[in-house]
Symmetry: C2
Subunit: 208 residues, 2 copies
């Protein structure tokens, strides 16, 4: 027989929590096993709840959602967590994703989107609302008008990965002096005079 997908809600707004609960319970193979108004209230029950998916609000009394994330991950390593919040600042999104959230939805998401997202993350997939996708995609975008040449970019990239000039020279089959020469040009173009500044500037301007 097919087991239902076990879902836990952690959301401090009573109306919303009940709304999500009824929404998700109406889905054939979904079962909201429990719902809590805060992580502090939820934590001692999570282990017995054995959720497959947790919908987690960020703003909550006591331990907030992002703070709770690593603890949940630790007690339930196989649970998939979807952040469900009104906030969509890059900082919060990135923190949630680095902490291992499987999804990040803003609360304007449609019922269908939420149901889709739960199903998606339960199989190890990813789910995010379009505004979050925008933020994430933006973070990947490189500056296409870099003043650095291909070779210079290659070398600066290696410097940013901690390689020394001799190592770079060796890897690229060129002389150390050539690397030095490129680095000097990089410094001039970026108007800096040290590795740290070069990396900082290049990252800020998205040249690397």
């Amino acid at each position: 027989m097919n087991q239902s997908l076990r879902i836990v809600l952690i959301e401090d707004d009573d109306i919303l929590r009940m709304g999500y609960e009824s929404l998700l319970n109406d889905v054939e193979d979904f079962a909201v096993v429990n719902s809590y108004a805060s992580y502090d209230l939820a934590k001692k029950h999570l282990e017995t709840d054995q959720p497959d998916v947790i919908l987690l609000d960020i703003q909550m009394p006591g331990t907030n959602g992002l703070q709770a994330l690593p603890f949940i991950k630790k007690t339930l390593p196989n649970a998939h967590i979807i952040i469900l919040t009104v906030f969509d600042s890059p900082e919060l999104v990135f923190e949630a994703l680095t902490m291992g959230a499987g999804g990040y939805l803003t609360k304007n998401s449609s019922a269908a989107k939420i149901i889709d997202a739960v199903r998606e993350v339960s199989t190890g997939g990813g789910a995010m609302s379009t505004n979050v996708a925008r933020i994430v995609m933006h973070s990947f975008q490189k500056n296409l008008n870099s003043p650095l040449t291909k070779r210079e970019t290659e070398i600066l990239d290696r410097i940013a990965n901690g390689q020394t000039k001799p190592q770079i020279a060796n890897d690229l089959f060129i002389d150390q002096e050539t690397v030095r020469s490129h680095v000097k040009n990089i410094y001039i173009k970026l108007d800096v005079n040290s590795k740290a500044e070069a990396i900082k500037t290049a990252k800020e301007k998205r040249f690397i």
Copy 2:
């Protein structure tokens, strides 16, 4: 009056191209102004086509979609480009996103998803299919079982950003010797003996 959203398709499969064209033309405010079987055929017309959104296949005869991306971006800086392909390898996804694609859809996407995506990217939003979202989210995930302490992580992170030990000491208001001490412990924990190796290992294992 409201202008229609001008769309251009670049897709080498005739059947698919016609299918997308008819799908998108059926949308009230969408207008497929032209469609091409390759970028090489499209390039001289793109400027006059003035598309708002371009659906771009990767696999094509001649210049492929990813190679074409920077050129399109250059001639049409305000056009939004959606990659529409069968491939979803991390490498291709990241390359497309760094090159400035506004969306990345795999070809198993439903008609509704494609229409949504076009509308979304046209307003500067992001769009990706769930399998792509999984790849992208995965790339953010940090290892929550790092052997490094908070301070060690902080310091290794700064090393990875090119800072020298004296600079780090200064920024963190601690002595250089303390930084050295942390670095030594980091090297022991990671079983390495240079910055480059430490950064490499830490990035591979997602400790930073």
